[in-house]
């Protein structure tokens, strides 16, 4: 009697838009949004140091760091909803091919820190050992092309590698259960977690050791919108100066980097963050080079590889996809 109607709820709903109207700066301070590529981790350390020390504020920037859940930052930055984002070359180029005007303005690491990780008990020590093993991945043509090239290059039979899509699951658990034998991870985060935090016997094939076969590429990179570069270059420069200062601090004082990151995201595993800070300190910039610099030859080789793997259907002009103009030297 009292309740006549039972209703079900769909997970969707229609938006009745209203204007957002978020005001600009006040007193020379600009509100700036940076969207991360993932949960905060040591790749982002310099940004959190600069934020914690007020270096963005000193540069007239009121920075908000937003964390994504699923989709990356490219579409959001391309649409101008975020001023800056963290992305990676393998999404910047397809995003540009699709017309999103995103530009990489600095790399967080000078080379790709990715690796293929396996339990030591699998006996995998080099790429050709992957033949006959099962790869647990995210699904996509890039990973297929990379693994095939690596195996072939090392004298193995790429046709004997099997692929299974597993998405974002606990890779250690999946390997323990025998659902797959190896995964693609970041050496300075996931491999470190497995080795130093969980204490497992792990073997890993680092991409950077096989650059004779596969291209290097920049991941993660800081991206912005072409319009920002055109209309607010001074802001972009100030942002990158504060960020570069943060990364120089992370290089010199890993414990400062770890503390800044742990303060901003106390949910993170403290041991992993501290180990990773020490791991990354010598790796944020190449010896004797400024932090953030990108090499056009790296982009060119990777762009060709993406086309070969089918992730890019047409050629993308890499000169428009990145710039070093905003790296302080």
């Amino acid at each position: 009697m009292r309740r006549r109607i039972a209703l079900l709820l769909a997970s969707g709903a229609l938006a009745l838009a209203s204007a957002c109207g978020d005001g600009g700066g006040n007193g020379g301070t600009s509100d700036v949004t940076l969207m991360l590529n993932w949960t905060p981790n040591n790749h982002h350390a310099g940004i959190y140091i600069a934020q914690a020390n007020g270096w963005y504020r000193d540069a007239g920037i009121n920075l908000t760091i937003v964390e994504p859940a699923e989709a990356g930052a490219d579409a959001v930055v391309g649409a101008g909803s975020a001023d800056f984002g963290i992305s990676q070359a393998e999404s910047v180029l397809p995003a540009r091919a699709a017309g999103a005007p995103v530009v990489a303005i600095g790399t967080l690491l000078p080379y790709n820190d990715s690796s293929l990780m396996a339990l030591a008990s699998t006996g995998i020590t080099r790429p050709r050992d992957l033949a006959g093993k099962k790869y647990g991945g995210y699904g996509g043509s890039l990973e297929r092309e990379l693994i095939n090239t690596l195996v072939q290059c090392d004298g193995g039979d790429p046709a004997r590698v099997s692929f299974v899509e597993v998405g974002n699951i606990d890779y250690l658990a999946g390997m323990d259960q025998g659902r797959f034998d190896f995964v693609w991870v970041f050496e300075g985060w996931d491999t470190l977690r497995a080795r130093a935090v969980v204490g497992r016997q792990i073997s890993s094939i680092k991409f950077v050791d096989h650059l004779n076969c596969i291209p290097d590429w920049y991941t993660p990179v800081i991206i912005t919108n072409e319009r920002m570069i055109r209309e607010r270059p001074a802001l972009v420069r100030r942002f990158m100066e504060a960020t570069a200062r943060g990364y120089r601090a992370a290089i010199d004082q890993p414990e400062v980097a770890a503390n800044a990151l742990l303060n901003a995201a106390p949910e993170l595993d403290e041991k992993l963050v501290r180990e990773s800070a020490a791991y990354h300190a010598p790796k944020y910039a190449k010896q004797g080079q400024a932090w953030g610099l990108q090499d056009g030859a790296v982009w060119t080789r990777f762009e060709a590889f993406l086309r070969q793997s089918g992730l890019l259907e047409e050629e993308v002009d890499v000169d428009d996809a990145f710039t070093n103009d905003f790296i302080p030297r």
């Binding site: 009292r2 309740r3 006549r4 109607i5 209703l7 709820l9 769909a10 997970s11 969707g12 709903a13 229609l14 938006a15 009745l16 838009a17 957002c20 978020d22 949004t33 969207m35 993932w38 949960t39 905060p40 908000t64 760091i65 937003v66 964390e67 994504p68 859940a69 699923e70 989709a71 579409a75 959001v76 649409a79 909803s81 975020a82 974002n168 606990d170 250690l172 658990a173 995201a265 106390p266 949910e267 993170l268 595993d269």
Partner: protein
Amino acid sequence: MSAAASTRDSRFAAASRRYLPPALFLAGLAVCWEVAVRSLDVAPWILPAPSAVWAAFTDIGEVLPGHIATTMTEALLGLLIAAVAGASIAALIASMPLARRLTYPLLVLSQNIPLIVLAPLLVVWFGFGIEPKVAVVALIGFFPIVVSTAEGLMRTDPDLVDLVRSTGASRWQMLRAVRIPAAVPAFFAGLQISTTYAVLGAVIGEWVGATSGLGLFITRSQTAFRTDRVFVAVVVIAALSIALFGLVHVIARLVMPWQYASEREQR
């Protein structure tokens, strides 16, 4: 005095009759869960035992209040907008048959757009502040309120409507004197359904991109493969929903005491 004491006793007895069985049932479920996980030796990342969830809660508890404050602000604001918009649209639908025919298909359509389609658009439209989260809660929440309230408005006792009409009342007077009082219980019935989903709606909204909130806490826990913390968030979300539901119930009692008085008499 002894009469008062016995009233209190009988009240206590009534309350325990009412709340003891569900409490015991829940406690029993938790015990079964704990025993099952331990005896079957289930790995913690597949299903953590209640004791492991509790340990995670005491371990990470201090970061929760900030996340809870964010999510609850989004949920409450969204509900408020849903209630106001829902009641207004219901009034329009109930008073104009044409409006009903025009808007009902759109209302149903509005509940069938997947959030994965909507989420990136919400960011573009509203940015990363509280707005997209409030929008998700309001969009999920307004539909039950509209349908329930509109039904209530239209199902008013026809004899009463005829009687008031015979006094020469205008449409607005009819709405105020007859239809709205008759629709209040229906409005609250709809609001209670919306309330059930408000916290979850806010959490889903935070997946769009957030700087704080339980949705962000879940993402951070998932990327660290901390299933125990994910469960902490699930329990917290459930507890907040129950609290919010209770609050709406209390408001309903205060707004329409007659409804609950007549119910008691019927018992």
